[in-house]
């Protein structure tokens, strides 16, 4: 982290280019705008995107994926509402904040707890699909009860579960 915002800090990308590109999974059943939101969040978690980076321009996304520009705008608006991105007039949308990361020791503890639970589930006779079904259902109910942040909850659960 340097105070000097020298040109040498800039990655070698043409002006206006984003470090990431979106893809769509037509079979996922997840609404298109949410897929875009999830991909930005995912890229933030894995370090592909960092604060100050530009998100793909609406025009480029639309040309590459043949989707409605309003869908891209909706995704970017959602990211702005979450405080993750901010629009700059005439330039585009830029990453505003990093996603809050859980500290590593805590993550290891959570992982251990989950492993213990999985062992219990296996002993009770649940197979992998059964575990996924149960977990997804409980996860949805849990976040629904807390007031509707289910989308992000599911996304982060998926990412960290793999990690």
């Amino acid at each position: 982290m340097t105070i000097d915002k020298g040109i040498s800090e800039e990655p070698r990308r043409p002006a206006g280019a984003s470090p990431i590109e979106f893809r769509l999974d037509p079979a996922s059943g997840v609404p298109t705008y949410l897929q875009l939101v999830h991909q930005v969040e995912h890229a933030l978690r894995l370090g592909y995107l960092k604060p100050g980076d530009q998100l793909p321009k609406v025009r480029d996304v639309v040309a590459a994926l043949a989707i409605n520009p309003n869908t891209v705008l909706k995704a970017y608006k959602d990211l702005e509402t979450k405080g993750l991105a901010a629009g700059r007039p005439g330039q585009g949308t830029f990453v505003q904040a990093a996603l809050s990361q859980v500290a590593l020791p805590e993550l290891a503890g959570l992982r251990k707890g989950l492993l213990g639970w999985l062992t219990d589930a296996g002993a009770a006779g649940l197979d992998e699909d059964g575990v996924v079904a149960l977990f997804t259902s409980v996860l949805r109910d849990f976040y629904k009860g807390r007031g509707g942040s289910a989308g992000r909850g599911v996304a982060s659960g998926g990412t960290e579960g793999v990690a």
Binding site: L24, P26, G29, T32, V58, R59, V62, A63, A64, L65, A66, I67, N68, P69, N70, T71
Partner: protein
């Protein structure tokens, strides 16, 4: 502003009504999809809006109240017909020349640049171009008129998957670059799911359902539960389409409440655009359900002001 607005619009061919009592208000800034089986009246509605044919009943205006077919309407609207008619023996350059001379406004430089970017040789005869290139040429001729509203009748019917993708990408890019509103028709639902954000469902010459896609999806749910309770439960709901087996039933319902509370033993799932459209198209009688009507909403806000 509404790009197409009709009231009591009807078109009769001899004794058959191709379109009846059609009242729609399609807002600007959207990709509006006209969906329905063959013979539902999609092309008739588009032809009426483009001013290619006169109504037998009611009226239709475009782009904020310009009567369909009037010079003011024609200046702002570009129409690409179903079979993308082209003079097969004319070159792409001749097609540009022809279109420029038939229209009050035509951006020659835009058209040439666009064809250059697409790698379509100006010397090539239209008949010798591939299906995808012919579609792109037709789209270029339409966009070079710098319309505010682009109307596409079954634009992708004859295109292979890559040409479809490229064609749609071109249309969507024009939307970003020039702020064009788009109204298109199709009987292939799957290809509209990523594109359309306003839906008009047509069946047997009537509009069955119309509204913002997000609003429509938010106001419908698929309820799954025991078949034994389905009939009793359904009486309390507005069911669009019901199906199921001996023990389990699926009810596609229109919900009036925002929260997803359902009877014990039942599960509510969100629906996709295709699932929603198919449910309505399988139940032509579900036509009477009122869609979210823009004009009614607008007048209400005007009164409250």
């Amino acid at each position: 502003m509404n790009v197409i607005e009709s009231a009591g619009l009807g078109k009769r061919y001899h004794s058959t009504w191709a379109l009846r009592e059609c009242s729609v208000a399609i807002p600007a800034g959207h990709v509006a999809a006209l969906v329905g089986p063959n013979g539902a009246g999609k092309t008739t509605l588009l032809n009426l809006a483009a001013g290619l044919t006169a109504p037998s009943a009611g009226g239709v205006t475009v782009l904020g109240g310009r009567p369909a077919g009037s010079p003011a309407a024609l200046d702002g609207i570009a129409f690409v017909a179903q079979d993308m008619p082209m003079y097969k023996n004319l070159s792409a350059r001749d097609m540009l020349h022809l279109t420029r001379n038939l229209n009050r406004r035509f951006d020659q430089r835009y058209a040439e640049t666009r064809l250059g970017e697409l790698g379509i040789p100006l010397k090539r005869k239209a008949g010798k171009l591939s299906g995808g290139q012919q579609a792109q040429l037709a789209l270029t001729l339409a966009l070079a008129r710098r319309p505010r509203l682009l109307v596409l009748d079954e634009p992708m019917a004859m295109l292979d998957p890559i040409a479809r993708h490229d064609f749609m990408a071109s249309v969507m890019t024009a939307m970003v670059a020039d702020g064009v509103s788009v109204v298109l028709s199709s009987h292939v639902l799957a290809e509209l799911e990523r594109v359309a954000d306003y839906l008009i469902l047509m069946s047997r010459g009537r509009v069955q359902l119309a509204g913002d896609v997000d609003d429509l999806l938010a106001s419908h749910r698929m309820l799954t539960g025991p078949a034994a309770e389905a009939d009793r439960y359904a009486q309390r709901l507005s069911v669009v389409h019901a199906r199921g087996g001996e023990t389990q039933a699926h009810l596609l319902v229109r919900t009036t409440t925002a929260d997803g509370t359902v009877a014990p033993g039942w599960e509510a799932h969100p629906v996709g655009l295709e699932e929603l459209a198919l449910a309505y198209l399988r139940e032509p009688a579900a036509a009477a359900l009122p869609g979210p009507e823009r004009r009614r909403n607008t007048s209400r806000t005007e009164v409250s002001r």
